[in-house]
Assembly symmetry: C2
Homo-oligomer: 371 residues x 2
């Protein structure tokens, strides 16, 4: 499969043999990233953004790529993450297909794609890889690590594994471990991909691509990224106009909500590599900050050392439910950190940080302004 690398992406090369947490090593791997703003002389104004499963490093327009990014409303000059003040780095997750080395990359030892020969990927590997980018940019200590969704897991892993890496932390709709409902959803998404005969144990190509499985996985994702409350108001029971329906198909799309899911799926399926999806998805299920503490996640949180932290969550989030951000804040505070918990009433569920700018802008802006 093709990788999907935005123009202007920059790269940091990882050490020749980058050790993976669950065993094995990656050889001659790289991490994709982009930056906004200028690193100051003291090198103390750097903010690292760690992403969810699917985004690339292009969080917002910049000199290298003027196209809108996935967090355009939040990142830039004068915005909540103000690139006039901060030197912002966004990293594409290790294991992704958006520039960082992953299952869709060439294995230098064989000359073929890694596919399922990619070593087992954990959230902690993504954290370690991101740290190499930070160091390569000449930064010893970040002003803040911001992690969204899966990135909230990655940020906690980074902070626990590398004490002193950051002065502060903002955890947005993240979690310190995966819970069974989310594991069940992700397991089913992976099963949908694996059941597609065209997945072929990871050996698909453009002509034989597991599009049905990816479509199912994405639709289930979108269902869990938003909320029933939002959809009640947004779609209700509105039906598609007859010219948008296929009268030949007795079980075809009929309601607006079905068409919405279909649109999301179509935009996604050919733009994300299925094997990368499987690896990143599984890494979230495995993640538990308490792994080294006998499964005591709070003990892991209490070991983290930053000056201040903020955990933001959304009441309608069913994938990373609110009690998980409460746990992050409480757990950090139990370790002596000035940690706040901010629950938001956004109707948009897990995706709210991408779309409910009215609520997220002041939340993020206020925290960064007081640093």
């Amino acid at each position: 499969m093709t990788e999907f690398i935005p123009p202007g992406t920059q790269f940091t090369t990882l050490p020749p043999a980058f050790p993976m947490k669950r065993g094995g090593a990656l050889h001659d791997a790289r991490v994709a990233y982009e930056t906004w703003g200028t690193l100051n002389a003291a090198r103390d104004n750097a903010v690292l953004v760690l992403t969810g499963l699917s985004p690339d490093a292009h969080a917002a327009a910049n000199a290298g790529n003027p196209a809108e990014g996935w967090w355009e409303a939040m990142l830039g000059p004068g915005k909540a993450i103000d690139s006039d003040r901060w030197f912002v780095i966004c990293v594409n997750s290790l294991g992704s297909c958006k520039g960082s080395t992953g299952p869709a990359s060439i294995n230098p030892r064989t000359g073929d794609l890694y596919r399922l020969d990619f070593p087992e990927l954990s959230v902690e590997d993504g954290a370690d890889a991101a740290l190499h980018v930070v160091h390569a940019l000449g930064i010893e200590r970040l002003a803040c690590v911001i992690g969204n969704s899966m990135g909230g897991m990655t940020a906690l892993a980074l902070l626990l594994r590398h004490p002193g890496v950051a002065r502060t932390h903002m955890n947005i709709s993240g979690a310190a471990h995966a819970l069974p409902f989310s594991i069940a959803i992700r397991s089913l998404q992976r099963e949908a991909i694996r059941l597609d005969p065209k997945w072929n144990h990871g050996r698909y190509d453009e002509a034989n691509y597991p599009e049905s499985g990816m479509r199912m996985a994405r639709k289930l994702g979108v269902i869990t990224y938003r909320s029933a409350l939002e959809w009640d108001g947004r779609f209700g029971r509105v039906r598609l106009d007859s010219d948008r329906r296929d009268d030949e198909d007795p079980f075809g799309l009929e309601f607006e909500v079905e068409s919405y899911l279909e649109g999301h799926a179509r935009r996604f399926v050919r733009r994300f590599d299925p094997n990368c999806y499987l690896y990143l998805s599984r890494s979230m299920d495995w993640f538990d900050l308490g792994e080294s503490f006998g499964g005591d996640t709070d003990a892991g949180l209490a070991q983290i050392r930053v000056d201040r932290a903020l955990a933001i969550g959304v009441r309608t989030d069913i994938l990373f439910p609110l009690q998980q951000q409460q746990q992050v804040a409480d757990g950090l505070r139990a370790g002596g950190i000035d940690a706040q918990f901010l629950p938001l009433d956004s109707p948009q569920g897990h995706d709210a940080f991408l779309v409910d700018i009215e609520r997220f802008d002041p939340a993020v802006r206020n925290f960064l302004n007081t640093l």
Copy 2:
């Protein structure tokens, strides 16, 4: 496909041409049912139970079939639905594969299975078919109509279409119309079945059966029938013992919650007909008690005439969320009915009425005791 008819099932034959709400008619169709207790001389102690999508008519052990039923804990002598007092009828939904005529039945006009030649099925057809059973048993007026889940929709349709059919109504985790989150879930379940190449536009057989699609559909069902809260306590992050894992499969089952879903799916896939599943699932999406009132569901509820009603819901239900039972109670009350709303704190979500007997027994018992 085979139908799955429990021993002891009884049948009522529908009129030779049973008209379907969305057009066409069923010829020589039948409805399966079972009964408990004795109809009194006044014929005024009959209680009708209408079920969710998948159950058969065997709600509890009876003379015809001593095996445990799906609502064994709630129905029988001295139980919440007390067969010493009530003559209880449970009807298998029209369109099902558990004895009532459905897509897995023989079309008498062709001698072949109906499959997708079955006419479009609506919840209202199920209500009309159930009424034929009631009348065939010599009952003019029911003491109570109880509907669970989809059966709650069927009960409301019955009451609206056939004024005077019942003195009272109990709506359990039901709804007066389908909301977009539930439509999205069911649409995805149907897509999983339809995407399975072995579904073959409904022309499968035992040897070529859409097992993968049915497994996906059932797993997604179970995820939405229960609740994240229950699973946090029940499964947490517990992993399967190594002897229950397949080391050859890098994406195989690892967590207890995945094994739980797999077990549920295995028990279901070969015991429910895929085409019947598609028809019944779609009928729920279509259901709106306000259809004849310009989509004003409350106007439909306000037209229903019973003496008393109770709508019971569960706070953790994401498929038929609590506000839908609140709407039923409020809407009936707006029409002048003595209607109560009873929200329960069960952690088991939509399935709570099947398993949280501690909360549901007194709720159901108290209502019936005061009739």
